[in-house]
Symmetry: C2
DNA sequence: TTGTAGGCGTTATCAG
DNA sequence: CTGATAACGCCTACAA
């Protein structure tokens, strides 16, 4: 196994030209007037292909002082929209000739590790999806010249760009919708991505509609299918069982649908359900899932937001707002 | 915004010592006998913390000729076991002080891009989960000194380590199980991760049990929940509707369960279902999902496999076999 | 115990 | 049109 990889020097020697010349032909960033004769050009390209030369990006990055790479930081996999999100980011990144890598956090500890990696120039820019970042940490990255975009409705961006959603308004609208339809005992599932805004909106809506807040109807840990299923079954057994569930995530809502159906009740007549996130799976449930989700499923704007910052690092911090809405289908 | 980041040189000047000294105290790789006086040590550490120095890994990687990073290449997100997989890999990587990054392929084109990034030293090692890699491409990486582990049951590893599963045997066992239970019209869903082995096992089992292969019962594109749901509904409408579904993926199987229940039929009496992958969600379906899956859900061995290669690049190519089995629950 | 200096592979400036 | 050459930030053999 030959572990030795050809370098510019090898190509230069092989082609009988100087290192500089090879570099020129490979990435013609000569300043406007420089040019290369077709003959040497060919010689060089020939050498490159015969030796199977590929540029060493590590060296290039050191020299250029950037990695031409961005990092998308996800708290976990398995969230349906992450895939679409990443694809949109990658599509834009490609236009800018950037590579996209993903980092998984999940725990606070891992979050610090990723932070460390970024400080060590893992990438020129970061898109962080709602983690537990402290704003100083992100500010520090930004102070190091790393472009940071964070998607979070609560974080106070110190020197970083923030993407927020109008999800709280949409959640409020959802719960209000249930209330005005006459549902009185509305459960709120907690857990999952939109934890914070969700509960706030729920409380606000109950209050505005003069509904009491019953603590048994606020259920923790429903970010995951199994738990949501089981918690729903439990709720069904209550003497005064709820008549609506504001599930706050589509997967939890879908589990609730199954649980209710397995329990022999009808949706939305006996119990209404509203999810959140608007995942495709919600269109094939029976009944189809009423949910709350983003108006646009195209996340290119988030990527452009980052690249704009990358292009122009010294501009003021900005906020990008993405609209959410209530999507009425059959389950409520 | 101060975009200038302190370097070793800055620390050295600030502490009033030489660059080399700083380097020594920060990573004491002095050759056995070298040592640093406590006084300078403190001076240096002080300087480091006051300046907020963080090593520039790009430079370090160039110098050390490795990135101390491994890359896990996923064809897509949203496959339930990927998350656990990545966590296991990261846990091991951490012990070796390696960073883990993820790359998404999905399309052949993206696959080539990731390949390019790797050739440019994105990472020292790769773990590729069943993509459409050609073995020459991987061999080329390996020839460049990049450690490659690929999880695939078909690929002929030229100079790369391969992780295979006994899934084909387990699939065969699953279909045979259906046949011996008396099911005659067994559908096979295609699409998703285990496409290749699945169909082969299905054919073999039908043949061995003298069952005809009915082309209407081989359904493409069932890697995804919606399609599986709809295809199942279609199958139910056939005059001679099937009496069993070998879904080949748990999410497809679960969609089939819903479709069958929505169609008013009973499982497994009217139709039996077997999935594949053994995801947690299969334990809460009604009835619980009979499936085929790995005996062990711990993937550390895969990571160790890679690090072993990293440590010892010149050893012969190897194969790691992971056992799969049929897991009987209620749906078949 | 600490410092000097060369080089990792590229890019870019400046002469030729 | 092409070639030396000096960085980029870090590591390390060797010298002091």
């Amino acid at each position: 196994m030959d572990t030795t990889v050809p370098t510019l020097k090898d190509v230069a020697r092989y082609a009988g030209v100087s290192i500089a010349t090879v570099s020129y032909v490979l990435n013609g960033r000569r300043q406007a007037n420089k040019t290369i004769s077709e003959a040497t050009r060919q010689k060089v390209l020939q050498a490159v292909s015969e030796l199977g030369y590929t540029p060493n990006h590590v060296a290039r990055h050191l020299r250029r002082q950037r990695t031409e790479r961005i990092c998308v930081v996800l708290p976990r996999l398995g969230v349906p929209y992450y895939e679409a999100f990443c694809q949109d980011i990658e599509a834009v990144a490609e236009r800018y000739q950037y590579t996209v890598i993903l980092s998984l956090t999940g725990t606070r500890e891992k979050e610090r590790k990723v932070l460390g990696a970024l400080q060590h120039r893992l990438a020129d820019g970061v898109i962080a999806l709602h983690g537990d970042w402290e704003s100083e940490e992100l500010a520090q990255l930004s102070a190091m010249g790393i472009a940071v975009v964070v998607l979070d409705n609560y974080i106070q961006g110190k020197n970083v760009d923030v993407v927020r959603t109008t999800e709280e308004d949409a959640f409020y609208e959802a719960v209000s919708y249930l209330a005005t339809k006459g549902y009185r005992k509305i459960v709120c599932f907690l857990g999952g991505d939109t934890r914070g805004t969700r509960y706030a909106a729920y409380q606000r809506a109950l209050r505005d509609h003069n509904l009491p807040l019953d603590e048994r109807f606020v259920v923790e840990g429903c970010g995951d299918r199994q738990i949501a299923y089981q918690e729903t079954l439990k709720l069904l057994k209550l003497k005064d069982r709820p008549d609506a569930i504001f599930a706050g995530s589509d997967v939890a809502a879908i589990s609730a649908i199954w649980a209710i159906r397995d329990g022999g009740l009808r949706i939305p007549d006996d119990i209404a359900i509203i999810g959140a996130g608007n995942i495709a799976e919600g269109e094939i449930t029976v009944p189809p899932l009423t949910t709350v989700g983003p108006v646009s499923l195209d996340f290119s704007d988030v990527a452009e937001f980052l690249f704009d910052r990358l292009r122009n690092p010294d501009q003021q911090e900005r906020v990008l707002l993405r609209q959410w809405k209530l999507i009425l289908r059959g389950s409520a």
